[in-house]
């Protein structure tokens, strides 16, 4: 109860800092909240040093998205001089670049690989979801529309803002994409809108749900999304410091409120699926939250916490700022980090779980 109070105080303080005069008081969070779960066992983990190997003279910037395909190849969507998408083999060796210079790449946010190994990039600079074939050579589908370049020139130098009152085919800085077993597409949208939009496999709008707020089924920066084998979706409702579970028709089912502010969620492959949630150290790496953020939780799909691993920081095995995770193999977690300009391959040793030193 005491820790809950402190979170609320933090939230209120955040409102006071951020709210401009005359703005209605709406829940905003200025700093990362502290997770309320206690006595969480520690899962020992190792990070493979220098796992990703790039050709000389090639760099990645802020690593925003990471995903693997069925062959173990790894895709990293990052903000470099341009926003770029790189493919690596299962050993971490650079294979090729995908989609360079296409009309939908401006400001990377997330990448996912679907069951057929198609590669989906989510770009919050162009408001586009872009589906590439598994080879990355062709664009098979786009959802959303890059705002009119002429209209945008009137908005220079950059504060264009959003128009999108939850339009079926336009997004307001979308954040992530997920797929169910039938190929339905779920888009978390986003920073400007506050909803989840559902499309069928052909890209046709089915429905959307969610409004801005902190009530049941409301969202405050839905930042990350994943689906389980039964078709439930897990939404990282980052601003509200909770993971929401919705059914396939976007009805609220449950909320997990004890694992901090979820920047990244991932539902593992395998017969027994797990949910991973990152309570990431915020992207400005504030000193004030370094001691109680950065950890990643391993949970059952029903919300029961199994353990956690990692802390905030810049050393190998630490995280700053985990922005997306891949967990195709529940014991091998790939993390993409904003502040550290890197991704890590993390191997978990869940059989050697340690009791938390709370």
């Amino acid at each position: 109860m005491k820790s809950l109070l402190s979170v609320l105080l933090l939230i209120v303080a955040g409102c006071m800092i951020l709210a401009s005069p005359g703005a209605p008081a709406v829940l905003t969070v200025a700093a990362q909240g502290r997770a309320t779960a206690t006595n969480v066992p520690i899962i020992p983990h190792e990070s493979a040093p220098n796992f990703f190997r790039l050709p000389a003279g090639v760099y990645t910037g802020e690593n925003m998205g990471i995903a693997t395909n069925s062959k173990g190849h790894i895709f990293i969507f990052h903000r470099s001089g341009e926003t770029r998408l790189y493919e690596y083999d299962e050993k971490g060796v650079f294979v090729k670049e995908i989609g360079r210079g296409n009309y939908g790449f401006a400001f990377a946010h997330s990448v996912r690989v679907d069951a057929q190994d198609n590669i989906w990039a989510v770009d919050e600079g162009t408001n586009m979801i872009i589906k590439f074939n598994p080879e990355g050579t062709k664009i098979l589908m786009t959802i959303g529309r890059r705002p009119d370049p002429l209209a945008q020139t009137a908005n220079m130098p950059g504060n264009g803002g959003a128009t999108y009152a939850n339009k079926p085919y336009e997004f307001g800085r979308p954040t992530d994409v997920a797929f169910d077993a039938r190929g339905n597409i779920f888009v978390s949208d986003g920073y400007d809108d506050a909803r989840v939009a559902k499309y069928d496999k052909d890209g046709r709008f089915v429905k959307s749900a969610g409004t801005r707020g902190n009530g049941q089924g409301q969202l405050n920066t839905p930042h990350t999304i994943a689906a389980d084998a039964a078709g439930n979706i897990y939404i990282g409702d980052r601003g509200n410091a909770r993971v929401q579970v919705w059914d396939n028709d976007l009805n609220f089912k449950a909320a997990y409120t004890n694992v901090g502010n979820p920047w990244a969620v991932c539902v593992s492959g395998g017969a027994h699926q797990y949910l991973y949630v990152s309570n990431s150290w915020p992207d400005s790496a504030p000193a004030g939250s370094v001691d109680f953020t950065g950890e990643i939780y391993k949970m059952e799909l029903d919300g029961k916490i199994i353990g956690k691993f990692g802390t905030a920081g810049k050393a190998l095995g630490q995280f700053a700022t985990t922005h997306q995770m891949d967990c195709r193999n529940p014991d091998v977690i790939f993390t993409a980090e904003i502040n550290n300009w890197r991704s890590q391959k993390i191997t978990l040793k869940p059989q050697a779980i340690k009791a938390a030193a709370q």
């Binding site: 209605p24 009309y103 220079m156 130098p157 085919y169 890209g203 089915v206 400005s284």
Partner: protein
């Protein structure tokens, strides 16, 4: 039909009344016969890391080579003395008839900013229409610039940044109040992206000198969001001008000397509400897609109104085939996303609607905001789409 109705009803919750109107207009048009057709959306073999973006214009030359003018790559601004300059954003590609990549034309061209259209004239010159630069550029078949109509605005308009609540990656977005103000501003922003039938289109940013207010019938080549170009047999040039403030047709001689213009904003004969496309027939008559008024107006080469063609939805792109009997194809897009209400009509030059084909969507044989049609051959069409980032090659089978 049941499915269409159901999805229209489902969407009406999100879209409001417009979706309902769309579903009604869908039902009204079911008497037009469907023309069977096939499609190939995988025609082009692109070089590595070269992609089509929004396909604004597609056209063939007499040898069958295909030219595509597309919004791809990235528009960027440079900061000058006290001004901001706008560059890039569109590219022009040439492919062979079988889709292999031939070359890129006009790399880093000054006026390649926001592609709007492309046509090839009878001498195989390539004409690009750019809505960002407010320019029409003529290339000879070798790719050399031969003629430029209109001038690109020197700099783009910049307005003060609206205050936002939070930086990009902070856990919470801006306050709703700040976002709301920005929403309002963007909500009034112009839409050059097709769809939005009859939408009001404010002044071109940074091109305030381009037009002289709504319906002023601007002389010369001060275009305001021009959309298309056509020619008569003596080589006179007609410019569809356009979806900005001018709402007129401008006529130039073959050397680019201004001759006359006609039209203004309105709904009467000879008036326009968004000129989106244009084509000439063998007699030199001019067919003008007056999208906001949901009609195609027909003029003689001097601008005298002859007739109009209605009941063809919202015409966004038109094309007149060659050959002894010419046909008019008109692409209709009734919703701003190209996902609810779209088809292409085949029309006799007398205005009789002969058939239609295709529907809205992202799959093969569906259309996402068709912005350009090539119909050099009556039953082999190339269709360029804005939202689906592709060209479809359609083979019509009207005999079946």
């Amino acid at each position: 039909m049941k499915h269409t109705l159901a999805s229209a009803l489902a969407l009406s919750a999100a879209l409001g009344l417009s979706a309902l109107t769309v579903s009604i207009s869908l039902m009204a048009q079911t008497s037009v016969p469907e023309i069977p057709f096939d499609s190939n959306a995988d025609l082009f073999k692109m070089p590595q890391n070269t992609f089509l973006g929004e396909v604004a214009g597609v056209a063939t030359n007499s040898k069958g080579n295909i030219f595509v003018y597309t919004r791809t790559g990235h528009a960027y601004a440079t900061l000058g003395d006290s001004r901001t300059f706008y560059h890039a954003g569109s590219r022009l590609f040439e492919f062979s008839a079988n889709g292999s990549f031939v070359r890129e034309l006009g790399q880093d061209l000054y006026g390649f900013n926001a592609a709007q259209g492309l046509r090839v004239d009878p001498q195989d010159n390539i004409w690009t229409i750019d809505i960002g630069a407010n320019q029409i550029v003529k290339f000879d078949p070798n790719g050399n610039v031969q003629l430029v109509l209109g001038r690109k605005p020197e700099a783009i308009g910049v307005r003060p940044a609206a205050p936002r609540g939070a930086p990009a990656e902070s856990p919470a977005p801006g306050t709703p109040a700040g976002a709301g103000a920005a929403r309002g501003a963007r909500g009034a922003a112009p839409n050059t992206q097709g769809g939005a039938p009859g939408a009001a289109l404010p002044e071109v940013p940074g091109a305030a000198r381009g037009g002289r207010g709504a319906g002023a019938g601007t002389p010369g080549s001060a275009f305001s969001r021009p959309t298309d170009v056509a020619w008569d047999r003596s080589g006179n040039i007609f410019i569809a001008d356009g979806i900005g403030n001018n709402n007129r047709i401008a006529k130039f001689d073959k050397d680019g000397k201004f001759l006359k213009s006609w039209g203004q904003t309105g709904a009467e004969n000879g008036q326009f509400s968004g000129v989106r496309s244009m084509a000439t027939d063998a007699q030199g008559n001019l067919y003008v897609a007056d999208s906001g008024n949901k009609r195609i107006q027909v003029f003689d080469g001097e601008g005298n109104f002859k007739s109009q063609i209605a009941d063809i939805g919202v015409p966004q792109a038109i094309c007149i085939s060659r050959g002894a009997t010419q046909y008019l194809y008109s692409a209709h897009s009734g919703d701003p996303d190209g996902m609810i209400d779209a088809t292409i009509y085949k029309i006799g030059l007398d205005g009789k609607v002969l058939g239609k084909f295709g529907s809205a969507g992202k799959l093969l044989k569906q259309f996402g905001l068709v912005n350009s049609i090539d119909c050099r051959s009556e039953n082999e069409l190339l269709v360029g789409e804005m939202t689906n980032w592709r060209v479809q090659k359609l083979t019509l089978r009207p005999g079946k």
